[in-house]
């Protein structure tokens, strides 16, 4: 990457945990990171990242109260590439049942549900991606690649066309979604070593809409 084409990433600051590691991961890839709650900067960004280690409802409320929800929507409408990470990924869907049913951004059809009781929850550790697509976020990522998960809920009823990779924990679930310019992953690419670096650099690729 040349100095004139440093990829810019706008990371939405809405008071969720452990954003520092996401910032560092992008910086290590040579990206310029703007960690901001500024509505205009989010709305006019080229690449928006919605991070998140928090509970669903307080996070969603925070997005609504601050006006960042509209700013993110405006960016997506303009054609910016959006990446939801972990809770940010769950917020992309229509609703979540974490602590009662709450509405999400609804950018990707699907509902966030708890894992079935028979499977160990939270799903913590390294698990394998079952590749469903080979473009975009999954470009160059082999089927069976290991990535790092920490979560207790996952989306259900996702349109198979939107699933770029699945993962199996008590049944298959969407681990990566790609619906037009709206991308998201349930796991933590910033904690997934080499594979995480490949995934995040795909997000930084220039063919961004």
């Amino acid at each position: 990457m040349t100095a004139t084409s440093v990829p810019a990433v706008t990371l939405v600051d809405y008071g969720v945990g452990n954003t520092a590691s996401v910032i560092r991961a992008f910086r290590r890839l040579g990206a310029e990171v703007d960690f901001t709650a500024d509505l205009d900067r989010v709305a006019s960004a080229r690449r928006v990242v919605l991070p998140g280690v928090a509970a669903f409802q307080p996070a969603m409320n925070r997005l609504l109260e601050t006006g960042l929800e509209s700013a993110v929507r405006a960016a997506v409408k303009r054609g910016a590439r959006l990446l939801g990470l972990c809770l940010g990924f769950q917020l992309l869907f229509e609703e979540s049942e974490e602590h009662g049913v709450n509405r999400g951004l609804g950018l990707v059809p699907g509902r966030v549900r708890a894992f079935p009781a028979v499977v160990r929850t939270p799903h913590v550790g390294w698990n394998q991606l079952l590749a469903r697509r080979t473009d975009g976020f999954m470009k160059g990522i082999a089927d069976g690649s290991w990535v790092y998960f920490v979560h207790s809920f996952r989306p259900e009823g996702v349109d198979p066309a939107d699933v770029a990779a699945a993962c199996d924990h008590g049944g298959e679930f969407a681990a990566i979604v790609q619906r037009g310019n709206v991308w998201g992953c349930q796991f933590h690419p910033e904690k997934s070593s080499e594979n995480g670096r490949f995934l995040l650099s795909n997000f930084l690729e220039e063919d961004a809409p």
Binding site: G17, A20, R120, G125, C167, H169, E190, S193, E194
Partner: protein, 477 residues
């Protein structure tokens, strides 16, 4: 698909440095934790654990600063523990970039700390470290008790009840260290692991006692552990992470393979796709053999931790010792300055040469002698001296003074060393430089004979000298 069994190297730290030692008073600096953590990630560690063993005595700031430095470079999860006593302590570590915190003594004293931590950060961030030890009071049965304060203080809690209580209070994971097994290298405490496994649903990390490669798979298959943790076997490079994972994979466990090593991309293979590999005994420094490797042989070596080569005559990959059993455990792989030769540092389990000699370079045969340089240099290399003395010992030569000495025995040689030492000392105060050099040469010669007679390899002396100098360990990428 299932979640991979995690392999977790643990680094004991104090004052921002890795430390080693058997007691808190006898700690030895063992390197930079950030460097070690990065190396572990490259080797395929699934997580790294940091335990601040001096936390009770030290300022917290050092640890938080270290966590920040680690977070800057590591892209796998890492856990930090040691002296976490409050939500504020945990918050500082998590903010600095840790993924999880480990709580031990403070949780035993006040289990509600676990609840407060879980409510604030989520149960998956909270690891309760339990140190268990079998204690027998009177003539009763041994009971597995919870120990605190670094395993030194006995509590009235039992391991099983505390495991259940701690997870009920909010701990999302248990790091179970058997004080009985720790340091024995006799294997993980399978009985204690099973007992805890049946008592809780959260992941259990096995710690303490790893000594053999098989031990890791047993902790999972028999003990029911979800992850395995070890410190010294990884730090001392007895095993690589890759070797442990390979052993677990062979035992049928799901493990995440080590990522392709970036370094080998730099290697310059010859036209046949091969590179020469020099194998060196990491303890004695002796050169053992010269062989060839292709990319596959190198990958296999890294993955298994055992020396693999490519045979040019058989045109096939082979593992050193696959027929003789004399495997060579690789503790480091380095490239030379222009990346067209490789060095394996190994711990041999038997002779490296097919003739049965320790080294393929054991024959002392001089093809050419070279004229020594014009003037005295700074170098003093005793390798040839030792080689000749050793050759004489193995194949006596009639009329050889060396053989005469060796036959006279250690007591006689020791006496000669004493005499030569006195003569050297005298020459240094009464003679000129040339006389001193002559006496010093006599002393070194007799010393070489003495060491050879007693079977002390020159490398052992070299190692001692390095140790005395306080030089850092040779870094292996």
């Amino acid at each position: 698909m299932t979640v991979a069994v995690r392999v977790i190297p643990c680094l004991d730290v104090a004052n921002g440095r890795v430390v080693k030692g058997v007691s808190f008073e006898n700690l030895r600096d063992a390197g930079d934790p950030v460097e070690a953590a990065v190396r572990y990630e490259a080797e395929g560690a699934d997580e790294v654990a940091f335990l601040d063993i001096a936390a009770a005595h030290e300022k917290r700031g050092t640890l938080v600063e270290l966590v920040g430095r680690v977070a800057e470079v590591l892209s796998i999860p890492f856990t930090v523990g040691g002296g976490v006593r409050s939500v504020e302590d945990a918050d500082a570590l998590l903010r600095a970039g840790a993924d999880r915190v480990t709580v031990n003594t403070a949780a035993v004293e006040d289990p509600s700390l676990l609840t407060r931590l879980a409510e604030r950060f989520g149960a998956q961030c909270v690891v309760v470290a339990i140190d268990g030890k079998r204690v027998r009071h009177g003539s009763g049965l041994a009971v597995m008790r919870v120990m605190t304060h670094g395993g030194r203080r006995e509590t009235d809690r039992t391991v099983i009840k505390w495991a259940a209580e701690a997870t009920g209070a909010g701990a999302g994971e248990i790091l179970l260290t058997s004080v009985d097994a720790d340091g024995t290298q006799a294997g993980f405490d399978l009985e204690m692991l099973r007992a805890v496994r049946t008592a809780v649903d959260v992941p259990v990390v096995a710690s303490g006692g790893a000594g053999q490669l098989d031990d890791f798979a047993k902790a999972v298959l028999v003990g029911g552990a979800d992850a395995v943790l070890a410190a010294s076997v990884f730090h001392d490079r007895v095993f690589t992470i890759g070797a442990v994972k390979e052993a677990m994979r062979r035992a049928g466990l799901a493990v995440r393979p080590a990522p392709a090593h970036v370094r080998t991309l730099l290697l310059r293979y010859d036209a046949n796709g091969l590179v020469p590999v020099i194998m060196r005994d990491v303890v004695t420094g002796n050169v053992l053999t010269l062989a060839w490797a292709n990319a596959e042989a190198l990958a296999k070596t890294r993955e298994t931790g055992l020396a693999h080569f490519y045979s040019r005559s058989r045109k096939a990959l082979w593992q050193k010792g696959e027929t003789s059993g004399n495997v060579q455990r690789v503790v480091g792989i380095s490239l030379d300055c222009d990346a067209d030769a490789v060095l394996y540092d190994v711990r041999p389990s038997g002779p490296a040469c097919h003739t049965g000699a320790d080294s393929c370079f054991s024959r002392v045969e001089t093809f050419d002698t070279f004229e020594p340089g014009a003037g005295p240099s700074d170098a003093l290399d005793l390798t040839e001296l030792f080689a000749v003395v050793r050759a004489r010992k193995e194949a006596p030569v009639a009329g050889s003074y060396t053989n005469e000495l060796l036959e006279a025995g250690v007591a006689r040689i020791a006496q000669k060393v004493g005499e030569e030492a006195v003569e050297t000392a005298l020459a240094s105060v009464t003679g000129d430089a040339k006389a001193l050099a002559g006496e010093a040469a006599d002393l070194l010669y007799h010393l070489a004979v003495l060491l050879t007679a007693r079977g002390v390899a020159p490398g052992e002396v070299a190692a001692k000298l390095t140790e005395r100098r306080g030089a850092p360990r040779r870094e292996n990428p």
